[in-house]
């Protein structure tokens, strides 16, 4: 059993506050992903858990024991670094055996466990090579193996895939998932890639400016963002977010932004008029009058066929275009006029300060 608790954790570098009073409990066997833009404090948090940074304030508990004063090597943790950090002067087998050697595991058992773990991450053919002879993906597998072999209860992964290309990233992402399933250990994973977070996490911790802004399962985060920031961060293509004004029209409320003029669903009738943001995910925008929700006539600016889906871009008066995803290779021509409809339950509203209006 291993449970990690962060209590009132704070980290300052001089005048800069990297992490602001964070409270979080990570249960045994959970796959937690810290996600956020660079500089949001996610890596700092991970490094505090690892013991490479001392918190300015607050406590870190592992299994109920405060570990603030413990050395990184005594915290029952394994860590995989963004740079892989393999030892370039040791061959792959020696790299993997390093942790075992530090634990004074007998020679023959070392060899057995190295072989076992190499099979698990499928790098048996690399054992005799030097790290310099291995590709980026192979290096990452070796780094994983080196961490796995010591069998720590918790794995910390600091943007482990960010130095790899997209295809390899997907491949190793699946590998991480498989390892987590097989080992049933706690994984704490840091990334700035929302897609990685969505696919891997049991629970996503969204961070911004040193604070947790939302946590929940991937679907909760995606379907029920608490703020403009979270809504904007998750999803690819990103949520359509149009800045404008809420104005009264009769009994109801209307959203206005230049030519973009949509009546809002009745549940928002009580919202106070004023500046705000209208949001809808590209896949929820329906092409053609569906008979439900508000509709709008627009000209197609750009058609982007992706094979399985097609992206349609519409002009707005704002810097970002309005995007709609339709399945298949929709037969829509550029400059054609189409009707867009916005189903009531797919509309998100955000106040001027970024908070979600429900």
């Amino acid at each position: 059993m291993s449970r990690i608790e962060l209590v009132n954790l704070r980290k300052e570098y001089g005048n800069v506050v990297a992490v602001k009073e964070m409270d979080l409990t990570i249960e045994d066997g959970e796959f937690i992903v810290f996600v956020g833009p660079s500089g949001c404090g996610k890596t700092t948090t991970l490094r505090m858990i690892a013991g490479f940074e001392d918190p300015t304030n607050g406590e870190i508990l592992i299994d109920g024991e405060v570990v603030n004063e413990k050395e990184p090597g005594d915290r029952d943790l394994g860590m995989v670094f963004q740079s892989h950090a393999l030892f370039p002067h040791k061959n792959v087998a020696d790299n993997i055996a390093f942790g075992l050697r530090m634990q004074k595991v007998p020679q023959d058992e070392q060899a057995r466990r190295v072989k076992e773990i190499a099979e698990l991450v499928r790098i048996t053919h690399l054992l005799g090579k030097m790290p310099g002879q291995c590709s980026g993906g192979e290096s990452q597998r070796i780094a994983l193996a080196r961490t796995l072999v010591t069998e720590p209860s918790n794995f910390l992964l600091d943007e482990p895939l960010s130095s790899l290309d997209a295809k390899l990233r997907r491949e190793l992402r699946a590998e991480c998932d498989r390892l987590h399933d097989e080992l049933q250990k706690t994984f704490i994973y840091v990334t700035h890639d929302q897609e990685e977070a969505m696919t891997l996490a049991d629970r996503i911790i969204v961070m911004n400016q040193g604070k947790i802004v939302q946590q929940g399962t991937p679907l909760e985060i995606y379907g029920d963002p608490v703020s403009y920031f979270v809504a904007d961060f998750f999803g690819n293509p990103a949520m359509n977010l149009i800045e404008g004004e809420f104005v009264k029209s009769g009994d109801g409320l209307e959203f206005k932004s230049g030519h973009f003029d949509v009546p809002l669903p009745a549940k928002f009738n009580a919202v106070a008029p004023g500046k705000g943001t209208f949001g809808i995910r590209p896949e929820n925008v329906v092409i053609g009058a569906s008979g439900q929700g508000a509709t709008l006539e627009r000209e197609v600016e750009l058609v982007e066929p992706l094979g399985k889906d097609t992206l349609l871009y519409f002009e707005t008066e704002q810097s970002r275009p309005f995007v709609s995803v339709v399945e298949g290779t929709e037969d829509v021509k550029r400059h054609a006029n189409v009707t867009l409809s916005f189903p009531d339950d797919a509309i998100f509203l955000f106040a001027a300060d970024g908070d979600r209006i429900r």
Partner: protein
């Protein structure tokens, strides 16, 4: 006429070799001249037109300098004459030089590397302090001689091996710190942290991870400082003379004596001064190529 891409590349590399060959000639000529002179009989030292490769090559210069063979020569009256070599002690000087420079260099690299590690990882010296350290080397050595002479005479360190070792150690320390810091900076911190979280102690991490990665750099630093201390003349000349003689000082004794300028002997001694460094360089060749190319660590 426009050249094709491959022609352009060829002519560029031809040009490069031309420039490098020219440079090599300039650099290597003094060494050639030294070796050539060391085999010349005395009449050819000043000969005009100059003798490049002597047809009367002789080992006499070497024998006189290194084997203390008394030389029989004819003087102007045609009588046989014997030179006396009593003042010259090249083997002792070689021993002194070897002892002093190896100890001083070892100390310098050892302490320099430890300091550099502290600077690189724990910022024990600010950037300003590091620069001041280097500024120490900007002081002309002659300026230091007077105060150091006074201290040394008070401390009884004048004309002693310990005195020179200490002086060389301290004056080369800035180089050692700066050079080894650049190598230590190349080792990513994450690599040390990876070792730490796998349970290695700090000492173990330095020994198993940092040291192997900076070894080539330290060897290069060692050779660089060894050359400095091995060939140091001014301080050795002024702070020691009679009891402790180093090779560069010894070399000066073959000049301006009653026999006139004995270039052949000097050349023979110079070859002896140069050879050990070349041998050391060859032994550690593998490290030098890596060390001077700064950074074997792939990022």
């Amino acid at each position: 006429m426009a050249m094709t891409k491959s022609q352009r590349r060829m002519s560029f590399s031809a040009f490069r070799y031309l420039v490098l060959t020219f440079w090599l000639c300039i650099v290597a000529f003094p060494i050639f001249w030294m070796v050539s002179t060391s085999f010349k009989p005395d009449k050819e030292w000043f000969a005009w037109p100059p003798v490049y490769i002597s047809e009367n090559a002789t080992m006499m210069n070497y024998l006189v300098v290194w084997a203390d063979v008394s030389e029989y020569a004819t003087n102007e009256d045609g009588d046989l004459e014997t030179y006396t070599q009593s003042l010259q002690r090249p083997w002792e000087a070689l021993g002194n030089s070897a002892l002093i420079s190896v100890i001083a260099t070892t100390l310098s690299v050892l302490f320099g590397a430890v300091l550099a590690y502290g600077v690189s990882r724990y910022q024990i010296l600010s950037e300003g302090r590091m620069f001041q350290l280097l500024m120490l080397r900007m002081v002309p050595p002659i300026v230091l001689v007077a105060p150091i002479s006074i201290w040394y005479s008070a401390l009884g360190l004048l004309d002693s091996i310990t005195g020179l070792v200490m002086l060389y150690f301290l004056t080369t320390l800035p180089y050692a710190v700066w050079m080894s810091k650049s190598f230590i900076d190349e080792v990513p911190r994450e690599m040390e942290q990876a070792a730490e979280i796998l349970g290695a102690s700090r000492a173990r991490t330095i020994w198993e991870v940092v040291l192997p990665l900076v070894r080539s750099g330290l060897v290069a630093t060692f050779l660089f400082i060894l050359i400095l201390t091995w060939s140091e003349y001014l301080l050795a000349l002024l702070l020691s003379k009679t009891a402790v003689v180093t090779l560069p000082v010894e070399l000066s004794k073959y000049q301006g004596s009653t026999e006139g300028r004995v270039y052949g002997r000097q050349a023979a001694l110079s070859v002896g001064i140069t050879l050990p460094l070349i041998v050391v360089g060859m032994i550690i060749r593998k490290h030098l190529a890596r060390g001077f190319s700064f950074g074997m660590v792939r990022r």
